[in-house]
Each structure stands twice: as C-alpha cells, then as structure tokens.
Amino acid sequence: MQVKITVNGQPREDAVEPRMLLVHYLRDVAGLTGTHVGCETTLCGACTILMNGQAVKSCTMLAVQADGAKLTTIEGLAKNGQLHPLQEGFWEKHGLQCGFCTPGMIMAAVDLLSRNKNPSDEEIRHALEGNLCRCTGYQHIVEAVQYAAHKMR
C-alpha cells in the first residue's frame, strides 16, 4: 500500500506491506533507527514517537495507520544542531545509562511538557508510567524533565 507520511518535517511516499508496523517503517524504510523496539506490545515505551504532536507507541501501530500524519522521532527533536531542552536535561542530569529506553522516554516527556509546563515530580512519574527504564531508577529522569520544564518556561 502507498502511504504519505511526513517524518521530521520531510514528506515521504512509500509502498509498504499492510501489516508493516510503524516502528519498522521508521527503522527499516525511513532508516531512522533511533526509535527502538523493546517489547512489541506497547508495554515498554521504547518505541514512543510523536504523531501529530501526541505521543504514540509505534510498535503497535501499522504504518498505514500513519498515512497522512506528521511524525516526529528522536532524530527530529534537535533543531539546527541545538539540542531540545529535554535532550539537554537528560545529558546534564545523567538521565540515561544504556540509552535504549531514552528516545522513547524523551518523546513521552515532550508530550508531557506540551500539556503541562509546570509538572510536579509526581506528575512526571505518572506521565512516564508507560515508559520503562531498567537502569536509572527514574530519579535522574525526573530531574532531567524538571530541568527541561524549567528551561522551557
């Protein structure tokens, strides 16, 4: 099937199998491997991207469901070589270790900060409950999101 999808501002047109998962479209067709597959069941959040500005888990969506959509992946977050405040926060606050959950975690946090500019620590923890991290214990992730929230206000 033919799909028209804008990925990180670049319009694309591709022929895809109807059953192709959106995350595989991003990784294997668009060549953007920053979005990771951790569980294929929507449970870990490593594949989180933004679809029309909202966080979605790309491992349980079909590429054809994104036809006509605007997608942002981790690769599209920095603008003109300038890191997004959340990327900066994760770096400054040691919000990542192995880095596998990080792209999804950052995209979920982008969604949170677009809805809530001044989240409490509890609100951050709650907003990220669909994104699992096995390395950090989340404390530095919470600090990273607070860093970004502060910077973006």
Binding site: M20, V37, L96, I106, C135, T136, G137
Partner: protein, 782 residues
C-alpha cells in the same frame, strides 16, 4: 590556554550521551548489511516433552525461506553450549533441542529468510509433535524419590552438591543461648534489560573471517567460546559489542543464538540477523536468584551470633549456562555479611528444573546472601526484643579489624560499617522516627522502618578464583595510545553498556597525562580493536579495568618523561604532567609542551637515540584480592492494613564504594540498583505454573518497577578506600541491588510487627500482606 581542572572526583556529564539522546547510537538491531538474512526460532511450548517429529517441509517451501533446521539436522555439526563453571553433572546442551525439550522456550528449530516477517511466518508453518512428560518445577520436589528426571543419564536432578561444616561448628552452635530456624525464599527473577538480545553474523568468505555483533557484556570471552564451537582461530573471529541496552548479568553468557548465527552465516555465506522478541527474552534469556534456604541461627542473649547454618536449594533450570552453577557459591561465601559470625556451615544443592537456566543477575549470589543475613539480623532482634540496629552493632566487624577473614574464609579489604550506619541513622533521624512509629501505631497506622547494613564482593580476583574454562581470569586490560597529534586513545578490556566508563576512564587518563578530557577517546567492545579483556560484570570494571588503565598510563608516562628529560636536560623523576605540558615538579614554569614530546616520540625530526619510536603501552592488572563495598540503607514505609499496599515514606542510602571517580555515575548506578532491589522485595517474581508454563512471559505479567513505584532516594557516601588498587576504588554496579532488597523487606516486616507477623516471602505484594494480616487476626481471635 586556561589551566585544566582535575577531572577525577568531578560529576562530569557523560561523553556517551550525545549520540544516545539523539538516536544515533548503534545497537545490534541497527546494524544493516547488504544481502542480510533474518532468523527466527521455533521454541518449545512444553516444559518437558519428547520430540516425536519436527516437520520443516512447509516452512522450507515458503517463499523467501533460505533454510530451516531442527536439532537433529545440527547433530554432530555444532557442539554443546558451554558451561565453564564446575559441577558434578553438566548436561549436554545442544543449541537446538534433540530428543527432548526441557523448558518452555527451549529452541526447537531455526528458520532463515529474506526478511524478519517471512522468517516468523515460516515458524508458524513448522509442524512439531511433542509427547508431554511430567514437569519438575519446584527445586525441592525435584530431589524427592520418583521425581521425573530432566537428564535421565544422571539418574538424579541434582547438578551438584557442596557442603562445609568446619571443625568447631557444633560447639559454636551449642554455645548459643537461643536458636531460631526459618525458611526463606529468594524468588526467581527475570533480568528484563530494555534491549532484548540480538546477533548479527557476517562471514567474509574471502578473508575466512567471522564478524559477530552481539548484545553481550563479554565480547572476548564470547569470542573464545565461539572459536571452540565453530572451530575457528580466535584471530579469525571478531566479536563486536556495539551499544548494549542493559545486561545486568544476563548478557554475561554464551547463548544458542550466537552459536547458531555464527554457524549458519558460514554455512550459507550470507550475513544473518536475529533479534530476540520480548517474549523470548522473558522465556529464553537467563533468569536470576531462585533459592530456597533453611536457616538455623544460634545467638547469645545480647544478640551476638554464635553460628549460622544454611541449607540451600538452588534452582538451576533445565541446563547449565556459562556460569550457572558458580553463582550460588557467592551466596555461601557472603552469608556472614559484615558481621563477626562465630561459625558458618552450609549445604548447597544445585538442582535441575524444567525452567530456563538461572545465571548471573545483578548481584549474582550476593543479594541472596545479603537477604539471608539481614533478615536473620531482624529475626534475632525480634526474638530478643532488641532494636535491629543494636543487634547489628553487636556483631559488626570493627573498623580496626581489617583486613578481616570471615567465617566463610574470605578476606575483607577494608570497611567502616558503623560509620555508614551512623550517617544513615542521622540522615533519617532514626530515634525520632521510632517515636513517630510508636505514635502512629496508637492511631492504627502501620509504619515500618527497615535497616540493612550490607557488604558485597567486587572485582573478583585473583585469577585462581575463576574457572579455567572461562579462558580469562580475574584480571583486566588496557592500552593507552598517544597519537601523533597528542590526542589519546584508550582501549579497555571491559565492555561498558550503560555504566559510563567512556567518561570515567577519560577522567582517569586526563588527570594522569595533564590533558583535557575532550582529547581522550575511550574504545571498547570490539575484539579486533581491543586487546584481550574480560568484560563488564561483577562490579569489576573500574577496580580492575581502571587499574589496568592506570598501569598503562604509567608506562606511557615513563616513556614521555624519559624523552622530556632528554629534551629538558633534567632528571625524569623530577617531572610531572600538568596543563598539556611536562614540567619540573619544583617549578612548573619550566616545562615542555606535551606535543613536543609526542613529536620526538614519533620521530618527526629524528627519534631520540636509545628510545624506541612510538607512544603506546598495554597493561594487564591481576588483583591480589577482591574488594568489599558496603553501606547502610534505611527504608521507611507505611502498610495500609485494609489493602496490604506498601507506600514508601523515605529511603536513605549511605554507600561506601571506596574512592569515587565520578559521583554522577555512582549515584546513577546506586539509584538504578536500588530500584531493581526494591523491585524484588515488592513486585517482581518469575512465575511458572505447576506444568512449567511460564506465566510471567510479558511485561504485563512481570512487574519491573515503573517511575511512580520507586521513591526519591536520599543519598550520601562514606569513603573507605581499598589498598588493593591505586585508585582506591571498590565497585558500585550491584551495591544498590544488594542493599535494598532486605532493607525494604525488613521495613515491611517491621510495619507488620503489631500483628505478630515475623516473615512473609517476597515479593511483598498487597494480596500476600493482606492475607497475612487476616490470618494473624484470625489466629489472635482463635
């Protein structure tokens, strides 16, 4: 140029991060090669069954399928998977099952196809007939007469048995005023690293060289084992561990898929990729823990422990993976904890069950020991009506007693257990908390305060402590190469996968050479680039790999000083490295730029007579002993008696990992470790049903902690250096996990004290707690 700061001890943000926060890191699944094929595995749906037939014909005919193989097809072509640790009964472990399947997830067949979707379609076309056999799920029952045998040739389900009762043990036990006996379950856990395993194998026919990307913690050790299995020279296998998305011990192994892909890439002469699904990861990547322990403790009325006897039933699973039978030995060795236990006796039964193999999982034997001894301390305190802190103080090894040989025969390097305890008690306001707890109990609120004073063992060495079949000892390696432009390349034999040694090792090298951290590039995880190394596990990387780096730096420094002394006409021993120069220690204004020395070393004009050109050095550090980090964790929880839910009110962690290279990384290791440890205490449990079906086969069913399930941790350190390495570092990768589990369990039990509840086995789920409360209430009424 501005003066350079000292980097060691600073919270430097990680040099790994820019690529990882922008999605530019390369994990195994990101490796793409021209003409690459994709593999998928058919796995056993039964825990224990005879394989009657595996019909691959439909799969082989499916368009896009290149090959499909069963265990019988591989017979005689691929040797048994390695278990390098000694055990009386080491079973044959074929990469694809032959004759019988022995756990749910046991690989039965492999399909290689042009794309991953096709490979998985073809798996569904395989018709396999199984004759189910009764499964052995419970390790204790596996030893009962008449239990089904998992490996018939052994005539038993016992893999190995170890016993130690030292002379004088019975006397020590008889000197006790009181004894207690109890049973502890240290439940089986699923490591659940966020990146499942994955392999890409590429055979370059013309070069007769195999390159294998694997999500592994041990690229060199893996290479050695694969060379054996595939009958290739070690110089003809290149193992690359690219970005590795967490391991926690479960990637310290040699797996069927690594051997299968290497073998098939050579057979088919095509690159092949296999990426584990999460379901496979839960079922067929090693698990951890899985001990049932019967403890007998003897103690005086003042709380002094005279003797401990522990009888272990350790669940090995169906096969022995790389180090499976070695893990429980760390438990036995660490039972005394940080205490002067009078005498220790133990018996360990290592038992086959129809489950995935257990092996190293964060802590690897030490969390089981720490849980045992720290629960014991609280049991003794409860029995004597003493404060748990007082019982610990009574038994502590005093700080002036180091080096100290424990009842288990280990020599602890250094420690100040009372120092860490006092700091944690002050931070949490212990006495005030006890008052608040008493007041809360009056109001029907169930606050619990849990303490654990842990010690653990890191940087396992010397080499004699490791099994020879591992083909690598307790040492670690480093190479330092000062390039012609004065930039420095560090090659380390450790294989970091989140721990941050690209940063901390750059800090060490920058300080030694007086250069900027940005002028250092730390490389690892590629056996074609890096000299032989052992890898990252057992909290060994900095204590051993960091020391090897210091040694290699020392050799380079010596050579640079020799050259500088010739150029400056001063004795080399008066020279120091500072601010990109080599300078006179007594007068740093008298100096020569580092670059001038490098140019001389590389013979830009002409080499210094008598000095060999070039500027690099390698070093291998063999430790004389292990390091023993320690600390005190205190959890404050509230249990809701209506629901059994546990809520964290405080969590204080005071950890002592010796000297600290980068406090940001140390905090990160501890916080992550604590989250994993409290996961075991409250949430996590690998569950197989009575037929051996894996119930916790998805992240929906296996509860790793989410963000709102982990409290904010109040952290501090004490610093008691080790003298076993020049950096004074001990290790910190597993400390949080080891200290936190008993701390949280003790807190919950403390909260439940008014009900007369002494012990509930982990995980302390609301339902279990609620039931225990109901039973306790009934018992009181009855």
């Amino acid at each position: 140029m501005a003066a350079l700061p000292k980097f060691i001890g600073q919270p430097i943000r990680r040099r790994e991060d820019p690529r990882l926060i922008t999605g530019e890191g390369t994990y195994v699944d990101d490796v793409k090669l021209a003409g690459m094929l994709h593999a998928a595995l058919m796995r056993s749906p039964y825990a224990h069954a005879k394989i009657s037939s595996v019909d691959l014909s439909a799969a082989r005919k499916h368009p896009g399928v290149i090959c499909a193989l069963s265990g019988e097809d591989l017979a005689g072509r691929l040797p048994s998977l390695p278990c390098v640790a000694p055990a009386q009964n080491v079973p044959e472990h074929p990469a694809l099952a032959r004759g019988k399947v022995r756990y749910v997830g046991d690989a039965v067949a492999i399909v290689v196809a042009t794309d991953p979707y096709t490979a998985r379609d073809a798996i569904d076309l395989i018709t396999a007939d199984f004759d189910p056999l009764p499964a052995v799920v419970d390790a204790e029952k596996a030893l009962q007469p008449g239990a089904p045998l998992i490996h018939e040739n052994f005539g038993t389900n016992l893999a190995a048995k170890a016993e130690m009762t030292p002379p004088g043990f019975d006397k020590a036990m008889s000197e006790a005023d009181k004894t207690l006996k109890f049973r502890l379950v240290n439940q089986r856990l699923t490591p659940t690293m966020m990146e499942p395993r994955g392999v890409v194998a590429h055979w370059e026919h013309g070069y007769k060289q195999l390159t294998l990307w694997s999500s592994t913690q041990i690229p060199h050790l893996l290479r050695s084992q694969l060379a054996d299995m595939l009958k290739l020279g070690e110089n003809k296998i290149r193992v690359i561990a690219p970005e590795v998305g967490g391991g926690f011990g479960a990637k310290l192994n040699v797996y069927a898929e690594e051997a299968l892909l290497g073998y098939l890439a050579m057979e088919l002469d095509r690159p092949i990729k296999w990426i584990e699904t999460r379901r496979e990861n839960m079922a067929a990547t090693t698990h951890g823990r899985g001990h049932v322990t019967y403890v007998e403790v003897g103690f005086k009325n003042d709380g002094a422990i005279t003797a401990i006897k522990a009888k272990f039933f350790c669940d090995m699973g169906a096969y022995l993976q790389l180090l499976t039978p070695a893990i429980p030995s760390f438990t036995a060795l660490m039972v005394p904890g940080c205490y002067r236990v009078g005498a220790l006796a133990f018996e360990q039964n290592l038992i086959f069950t129809n489950k995935m193999a257990t092996d190293a999982y964060r802590g690897a034997g030490r969390p089981e020991a720490c849980y045992l001894i720290e629960r014991t301390m609280d049991m003794v305190a409860a029995e004597l009506g003493m404060d748990p802190v007082q019982v610990r103080r009574k038994n502590f090894i005093p700080k002036d007693a180091f080096p100290f040989t424990t009842a288990a025969g280990l020599q602890y390097d250094s420690g100040d257990y009372e120092g860490a305890l006092n700091k944690a008690l002050a931070m949490v306001g212990y006495d005030k908390l006890r008052t608040e707890q008493a007041a809360a109990r009056q109001q029907g609120r169930y606050l619990g305060i849990g303490v654990s004073t842990y010690v653990e063992i890191c940087g396992i060495g010397p080499s004699a402590l490791l099994p020879p079949k591992l083909k690598g000892g307790g040492w670690e390696s480093a190479t330092v190469r000062v390039e012609p432009d004065s930039k420095v390349t560090v090659l380390t034999g450790v294989s970091p996968h989140g721990q941050g040694q690209e940063t901390s090792f750059a800090q060490i090298a920058a300080d030694a050479l007086g250069i900027d951290i940005d002028d250092i590039n730390v490389l690892h995880g590629d056996t074609a680039i890096v000299q032989y190394g052992i890898g990252t596990f057992g909290s060994r990387a900095t204590a051993l790999g960091g020391t090897a780096l210091v040694m290699a730096l020392g050799k380079v420094q010596e050579k640079m000083k020799t050259i500088a002394s010739r150029l400056m006409e001063v004795p080399p021993q008066q020279l120091i490295f500072t601010n990109r120069t080599i300078a006179l220690a007594s007068d740093p204004s008298k100096s020569i730029p580092l670059q001038k020395v490098v140019e001389a070393a590389y013979g830009y004009k002409q080499p210094i007579p008598g000095v060999e050109p070039g500027l690099d050095a390698s070093a291998f550090f063999e430790p004389s002993g292990c390091t023993f980090p320690f600390g005190t964790h205190i959890a404050v929880v509230e249990v809701d008696p209506q629901t059994g839910a546990v809520k964290f009110l405080r969590y204080v962690a005071v950890d002592d990992c010796g000297k600290i290279i980068n406090p940001l990384l140390v905090d990160g290791q501890l916080q992550g470790g604590i989250a994993q440890g409290l996961g075991q205490a409250l949430y996590e449990e690998t569950v197989y049903d009575e037929n051996g079906q894996l119930v916790t086969a998805s992240l929906m069913d296996y509860a790793i902690p989410k963000a709102q399930m982990v409290p904010a941790i109040e952290m501090a350190n004490t610093v008691t250096p080790t003298n076993l390495n020049p950096l004074g570092v001990k290790g910190v990768g597993e400390a949080g996990t080891i200290g936190s589990t008993p701390c949280v369990a003790n807190a919950v039990m403390d909260a439940l004290k008014p009900f007369g509840i002494r012990h509930i086995d982990m995980p302390l789920k609301p339902e279990k707690i609620w039931r225990a409360i109901q039973e306790a209430k009934q018992a009181k009424k009855g």
